[in-house]
C-alpha cells in the first residue's frame, strides 16, 4: 500500500492500481473516457514529483513540463500527490511599478512581484482588480532581462478593466495576479527550426516575450514576425522591434495595417494574409499566433493546412469579456 494524496486528502493505493482506479474506488469522481491514455479527459497535475513517463505519453512537451499527466495510465512507484486544482485559482499580490501609454491604444503595465513566480515569456495570467473584476493578459517580459512582469493592455470602448488600467491605475497601486498559465511559449532546442509569428493588437505582448526568449536562447533559424492592426494607433514597439531586427540578422519584422494605407513603412494587409502569402509551405516550422480569437482560429487552420504540425503551433486567443 502506498499513499495517494489528491486535492489534499490521502487515500490508500495498491501497488498496481492507477491513480484513476484508486480515486474511483474511493468514490472520487475524475472525468474519464477511454481509460487507455488516449482521450486525455482524465488529465490531472502532479504537485511536486514528476509523474511516471508512461502517464505523460502523448501530452505536449509544454504540458509535460508543467507536470500534467493522465490519471488512467499513472501508476506511481510510491507515494504521490496530485491535484485537480487549476493554477488560475491561485493568487499572489503585485505592485504596479509603472503604467505608460506606448500607443494611443496600448498601455504598458509593469508589475513588481513576489518570488517564487516561475513564468515563461508568452504565458498569460489573470489580473484581479480590487473589486474582484478579472481579466487575462499575456506576459511580454523575460525574467532573465527584466525584474518586473510586463503586460500590454489594449483599450476597448466597453472594456471595464482596460479603461480602468488606462485611466486610473498608477504606480504604487496593489493588484493581484494568478499563477502563470498556458503553453504559448518558447521551448529551447531545435534552434534550426524556422519560426513564424503572427499577432494582432496586444497579441504582440506574448510574441514580444517569446521572440526575445528565442533570441536569448540563440535560436539560429529565421524568425518572422507579422504584427497587424487595423489602424496606425494599434501598432507599437516599432522602434524596439526594428532595432532587434538590425541586431539579429535572422529576425525579420513586418508591421501590417489592414484598414489604413499610404504608409510606406507598413504592409497594407492583414498580418495573417501577409504571412501566408510570403510563406506558403510551413512544413517543419514552429508557429506562434496571438490576438483576436477569430483571427487565431482561422490562422491556426491555415498554417496547419500549409504544412505546420499541430504540435508545433502555439496560440493565444484573446476573447473580449462580456460585461
Amino acid at each position: 500500500m502506498s499513499k495517494l494524496t489528491f486535492d489534499g486528502i490521502a487515500y490508500n493505493r495498491t501497488a498496481e492500481e492507477s491513480v484513476l482506479d484508486c480515486l474511483t474506488r474511493h468514490g472520487v469522481v475524475v472525468p474519464n473516457s477511454c481509460r487507455s491514455g488516449i482521450c486525455q479527459s482524465c488529465m490531472l497535475r502532479a504537485v511536486s514529483d514528476d509523474p511516471p513517463a508512461a502517464a505523460q505519453k502523448g501530452l505536449k512537451e509544454t504540458q509535460k513540463e508543467q507536470r500534467y499527466f493522465l490519471a488512467c495510465s499513472c501508476i506511481p512507484s510510491g507515494d504521490f500527490e496530485a491535484t485537480s486544482e487549476l493554477p488560475q485559482l491561485t493568487r499572489t499580490s503585485a505592485q504596479v511599478r509603472a503604467v505608460e501609454k506606448i500607443s494611443p491604444a496600448i498601455a504598458r503595465v509593469r508589475l513588481d512581484y513576489s518570488r517564487p513566480f516561475d513564468y515563461r515569456p508568452g504565458q498569460f495570467l489573470n489580473l484581479y482588480r480590487p473589486d474582484g473584476l478579472i481579466r487575462t493578459y499575456s506576459i511580454a517580459s523575460v525574467p532573465q532581462f527584466e525584474d518586473f512582469i510586463e503586460l500590454h493592455v489594449q483599450r476597448t470602448e466597453q472594456g471595464r478593466m482596460s479603461r480602468w488600467v488606462h485611466e486610473e491605475l498608477k504606480s504604487g497601486d496593489l493588484v493581484h495576479i494568478s499563477a502563470p498559465l498556458g503553453e504559448c511559449y518558447y521551448r529551447p532546442g531545435n534552434t534550426e527550426q524556422p519560426i513564424l509569428m503572427v499577432g494582432t493588437g496586444s497579441g504582440l505582448a506574448p510574441l514580444y516575450g517569446v521572440l526575445r526568449d528565442a533570441l536569448r536562447a540563440k535560436h539560429s533559424a529565421p524568425i518572422w514576425l507579422y504584427h497587424g492592426s487595423r489602424t496606425r494607433d494599434g501598432l507599437y514597439l516599432i522602434d524596439e522591434l526594428r532595432s532587434l531586427a538590425r541586431e539579429y540578422e535572422n529576425f525579420r519584422y513586418f508591421p501590417c495595417l489592414s484598414r489604413e494605407s499610404g504608409y510606406e513603412a507598413f504592409l497594407a494587409a492583414r498580418a495573417n494574409d501577409a504571412a501566408l502569402t510570403e510563406h506558403k509551405n510551413l512544413k517543419g516550422w514552429r508557429v506562434f499566433i496571438a490576438g483576436h480569437a477569430d483571427m487565431v482560429g482561422a490562422t491556426k487552420k491555415r498554417v496547419f493546412l500549409a504544412g505546420a504540425s499541430l504540435g508545433d503551433i502555439h496560440s493565444d486567443a484573446f476573447l473580449l469579456a462580456r460585461n
Binding site: S33, I38, C39, F304, L310
Partner: protein
C-alpha cells in the same frame, strides 16, 4: 506469436505520424470539411488520434454507443454514408502516403467500416 494489426502498422508511433496527415486531408476535403468548422483543433486532433488508434486495431474502450454519441450532432448537419466513405478514403490515402501496403489498409478500412452504423445512428 503473430503480430497484431496495431503492431504491424507500427503502434503509437504510426498513429502519431498519421494524425497530422489524416486531419489535414479531412480539413482540405470539401466533402467533409464543413463538419470541422469552428471546432477546437487541439481537441479535435486528440479525438482523431483516438479514432486512428481504434481503426489501427490498438488499445481502446470505445463502444458503439460512444461512436453514436460522438457523432449524433453531425447527423443533424446531414452526415451520411457518403461522408463515411470519404473518411475511409482519406484514411487509406494517409496510410498509402506512410508506405503501408494494401492488405493492411484493407484491414484498417474494415474496422472503420464496422462502426459505420453506429456513427450514422442506425439502431440507436
Amino acid at each position: 506469436m503473430a503480430k497484431t494489426l496495431y503492431e504491424q502498422l507500427g503502434g503509437e508511433a504510426a498513429v502519431n505520424a498519421a494524425v497530422d496527415i489524416f486531419y489535414r486531408k479531412m480539413l482540405s476535403d470539401d466533402r467533409v470539411s464543413r463538419f470541422f468548422e469552428g471546432v477546437d483543433m487541439d481537441r479535435q486532433a486528440s479525438k482523431q488520434k483516438a479514432f486512428l488508434t481504434m481503426v489501427f486495431g490498438g488499445p481502446n474502450n470505445y463502444s458503439g454507443k460512444d461512436m453514436y454519441e460522438g457523432h449524433k450532432h453531425l447527423l443533424k448537419m446531414g452526415l451520411n454514408d457518403s461522408h463515411v466513405d470519404a473518411v475511409i478514403e482519406n484514411l487509406g490515402n494517409t496510410l498509402k502516403e506512410l508506405g503501408v501496403g494494401n492488405d493492411l489498409i484493407g484491414q484498417v478500412a474494415a474496422i472503420a467500416n464496422s462502426v459505420r452504423d453506429d456513427v450514422l445512428g442506425r439502431g440507436h
